[in-house]
Symmetry: none
Subunit: 195 residues, 4 copies
């Protein structure tokens, strides 16, 4: 029923990101998105099941690219330490490139309803898997401590990246997010303990 391709499909997704980033999730009415996309209200429903579907599609599309790009970069790194570094760096640098998407991801989409959370679960799973793979490889290669609980470590990694990014967005993206890559990478690798 809903045709998920075509230039109008993309126009609507892009419009949605802009509107939500600019006006906030609670002011992102379908009619506003339609107007921003230069499309009639009803046209939205030729490409999306309902409003939630716009948001889910938006997130999946963008986050799908995000994960894929990140995965590609990681694949190019040689050492495990490098891979972890690239993971952090790519996370920060990709979100730095698109403030609108960063705001939507870190702030606005969290204000959405349960439906949406479910709809985006799949892509998030892929990101989590990506992080898990790096960790496992590190353990297998004897670089990371063998007793590390992969899932806990992944939550640390993701939780930290997420919190750092959210803080940055809430401070209006005013400083350089990528700059923190090294600090974060160091904390992940060596923790806080001095020698």
């Amino acid at each position: 029923m809903a045709k998920k391709t075509g230039e109008k499909y993309q126009a609507i997704i892009d419009a949605a990101v802009r509107v939500i980033a600019r006006q906030g999730y609670h002011n992102a009415q379908v009619s506003k998105i339609a107007k921003e996309a230069k499309v009639a209200d009803g046209t939205i429903y030729l490409y999306f099941e309902n409003k939630d579907d716009i948001l889910i599609s938006l997130f999946n599309e963008k986050m799908g690219n995000f994960v894929e790009t990140n995965r590609r970069h990681i694949a190019e790194a040689s050492s495990i330490e490098q891979k972890l570094y690239v993971l952090v760096h790519a996370h920060f640098s990709q979100l730095s490139l698109d403030h609108d998407f960063a705001k939507v991801t870190q702030i606005e989409l969290r204000q959405s309803n349960p439906h949406i959370s479910e709809g985006i679960g799949n892509v998030m799973k892929q990101y989590f898997d990506l992080i898990d793979e790096v960790i496992r490889e590190g353990i297998d290669k004897g670089i990371f401590h063998p007793d590390i609980d992969v899932r806990v470590a992944r939550k640390m990694i993701f939780g930290t990246l997420d919190e750092v990014t959210t803080s940055w967005v809430m401070k209006q993206c005013k400083y350089d997010l990528v700059y923190h890559t090294e600090s974060v990478h160091n904390l992940f690798l060596y923790g806080m303990k001095g020698k």
Copy 2:
């Protein structure tokens, strides 16, 4: 105008936590909260400015206790490592004690509007300050690495605790959250690197 004490005040706060935890933020109408609190709709407005005020008060009240309890526990610990351990342990154990509040904090309140986010900023700041103090003390005493960026470390700590807790809530609190204290503590202290 709004009298923020009394047993009805508490009854409404408690009812709100239950209703939101059970039915979700988007189904938590004022009338439902009133009914759950065994109070008339209008009575709500004798104790709260508006609906947002219920949620903000709820969070501040509960989270205020949370921070205070955590702070007290930490004060009792002797070594820095112990303090960090207690920080993690208290975070997990307190949220383990009140699944409803955990759900409201980790999931539902994030679906709220910007106004609420602002209203709860102050208590969160206090929690962040508490974490910062521990980190700073650790650095000052030479336990933590001197080059650590306090704010980044704090974001790692909070981000991790938050992510671990959210995962647990989304898995219906089915496993023992406190059990992860040690893993998390270890990661914070020593990172992932094997020796």
Copy 3:
């Protein structure tokens, strides 16, 4: 049931005039009037049937005095022309003395509901009768034209006084209302036609 005497009765009436004049009819909640009268909300209902009853009583009490005073002044005048003059003069000067009551009468009470309009009908009737008496006496004494329709003339007189006063109130009572007595009196007596 409602005891219409006592100092609290008066206090409530006076408070009502002040509150309505200051904040407007639509912001004159019972609780505000009670507060202004330094009385509990419930106390209002020991002296008045309901909110409308406050307003009706207020109007009748004040307007009753108004009519009585006006009647007394008129009685003291000798000629018919004098009586008409006094009628106009008293109307303007009495309302000039109490801006709050003027505002309530001319503006706020007209925003009230049908119940109130009915409740104040009786005193208005007395004022209309007073005007009618003057007109009739003028006709009987051959001073006013015998073909004048008393009711129409009365409506002209009251309508004019009312409109002039309302304009004055809406201009914040900034100019001298009584000053217009002569112009109005002249128009009533001789009309607009030049010789």
Copy 4:
């Protein structure tokens, strides 16, 4: 935002007049007006900003026509006396033609809130200006007494017409309003004094 044309716009205005005239201002809920106009509640808000806007538009639309018609009739009259006569006659006859509108104008709209009063100020000003013009012309042509205060005379004219009409409406429009044209006209011109 609100499209102030189209047949639905008119249907809503007409429905509002009927509902308010029949049930009174305080019983004229938006949903009732919508039902009477055979339109959904939400449709109202495609054509009007809010409830007040319905009433303001209604009044301005109808009263605008009223003033225009009256002005046209007056322009056709030759002598000043004729113009004054036509002014009175048109006022009465136009309101006689639409009892519902008369009731809304004379009774119900006065029960509205300050916002509405402001919104209708402009059209009233135009009516006042029209009356002023007639008076001034009368003075300039030496028909009316040169010492007449235009604004006072206008208040007499409008106040009288208004009071006569209100009385008629409150008596259920049971008698012929236009019949009083002559009495009123005479009073305006010659006053009450016999020769």
